[in-house]
């Protein structure tokens, strides 16, 4: 009598090759593990061999089944204004999923009565209790190596190495880390904060020296000094002169020497003259026209 499934041996050997190399993506790894578990269950039912495509299809069905239960339970939880799922959510989800393929189950309608309790009315839980009671355990064939939490490959994304409990219990662990605000330079992704052509947000630019909001305050609580609002490129000094009698405002460029008054035409080209006639009364005060 054949004691091992042919495909189980093949999947085990393929899994060992994938675990020795680090190129398997998390989804491939989880799918391979699921395939081994499903083949073990096949063997426990009585199958001696299986087609490869059939095994893959059954594994896919199993993973999608689990995701369907989880998603349904999560939506039950969320609709009750909670984030942590409890047994009632899970039972309702199981009822939903099981009733789809078995054409209904016992105890679903009276589950929510105030006098009923969970185990007495739920057919799904009763079936599960019977299953657990009557069936022998089938432990998983191989020990699963725990993904190294500091490495970038494996089930965890590169940003999770900093999580642990530093973000508080309100943040789930499977979410990626917060983006870092260290002057736009991320320790995990070094090139992230810097753009190709040196573009940056105008609030953080050198030219703006005001204390705009929170971005100018670094972690120590001191104001971030960014160039002090000074303009980088040198410019010529500009001097404005307000005329006394006729109200002429002249923009004189200091570089082109002011002393050259004989060259009036050139000066006139460079000077913007605003003439405004005003009357003054006897006291010398301006009278608006």
């Amino acid at each position: 009598m054949k004691s091992k499934l042919r495909k189980e041996a093949k999947t085990q050997s393929s899994t060992t090759t994938t675990t020795t190399t680090t190129t398997a993506t998390p989804s491939e790894l989880s799918f391979a593990i699921a395939r081994i578990a499903v083949s073990q269950i096949c063997q426990s039912v009585g199958f001696k061999a299986t087609q490869l495509s059939a095994l893959e299809t059954l594994t896919l069905v199993a993973t999608k089944y689990l995701q369907a239960i989880a998603g349904s339970a999560a939506s039950f939880t969320n609709s009750s204004n909670r984030t942590q799922s409890n047994l009632l959510d899970l039972t309702n989800a199981l009822h939903d999923v099981v009733s789809l393929h078995s054409g209904g189950l016992s105890g679903g309608s009276i589950l929510h009565r105030p006098t009923s309790t969970l185990l007495s009315t739920s057919g799904v839980l009763k079936d599960l209790a019977n299953f657990v009671y009557f069936h022998d355990e089938i432990p998983f064939a191989k020990p699963i190596p725990r993904p190294d939490r500091t490495s970038s490959s494996g089930n965890s994304s590169p940003g999770t190495k900093k999580l642990d409990c530093s973000r508080g219990s309100n943040v789930p662990k499977w979410l990626p880390g917060f983006p870092n605000g260290n002057n736009g330079v991320d320790e995990i992704y070094p090139g992230k904060g810097k753009r190709k052509n040196g573009e940056s947000l105008w609030e953080e630019s050198v030219l703006v020296g005001s204390d705009l909001g929170w971005k100018n305050w670094n972690e120590n609580g001191r104001k971030r000094v960014v160039g002090e609002g000074k303009v980088e490129t040198g410019r010529g000094k500009v001097r404005f002169k307000m005329g006394s009698r006729s109200g002429v405002c002249r923009l004189e460029n200091n570089k082109n020497n002011v002393n050259d008054k004989s060259n009036g035409i050139d000066e006139e080209e460079k000077i913007l003259v605003y003439k405004r006639r005003r009357r003054r009364d006897d006291g010398g005060r301006l009278i608006n026209l």
Partner: protein, 115 residues
């Protein structure tokens, strides 16, 4: 409140039965490993510190599914035909190749074959 009217022994028994059931779940080691179940639960947004019930439910469902595929043949091989037939009863439509041909012109009328 309605549910305070009958606190009687029935609820206590059921509570005890429920806690026994959950304790038995903790003892039982399911074939599908906990890490795998946690991975798929996290992928679907399910948050719960205890995941044993999920694993059991999944295994029970898969076992039921497999039992339906048993054939009268003594040497049981899981084939795509049986699988698709059984899955159709559960509402899952799986398409598969009916047969494999040796060459592109297999089964064609000999007069229409290009030679």
């Amino acid at each position: 409140m309605n549910h305070n009217q009958q606190p009687g022994d029935g609820t206590h028994e059921d509570d005890a039965a429920l806690s026994d059931f959950l304790a038995s779940l903790m003892d039982y080691t399911p074939t599908i490993p906990d890490e795998l179940v946690e991975h798929y639960l996290a992928k679907s947004g399910f948050q719960c510190p205890d995941v044993r019930l999920q694993c059991k439910a999944r295994q029970a469902a898969v076992v039921k599914d497999k039992r339906d595929k048993q054939q009268k043949d003594k040497r049981l091989i899981l084939t795509m035909e049986d699988l698709s037939r059984a899955l159709r009863e559960y509402g899952v439509n799986v398409k598969h190749q009916e047969y494999f041909a040796d060459s592109p012109s297999t089964g064609m009328d000999p007069a229409s074959r290009d030679e």
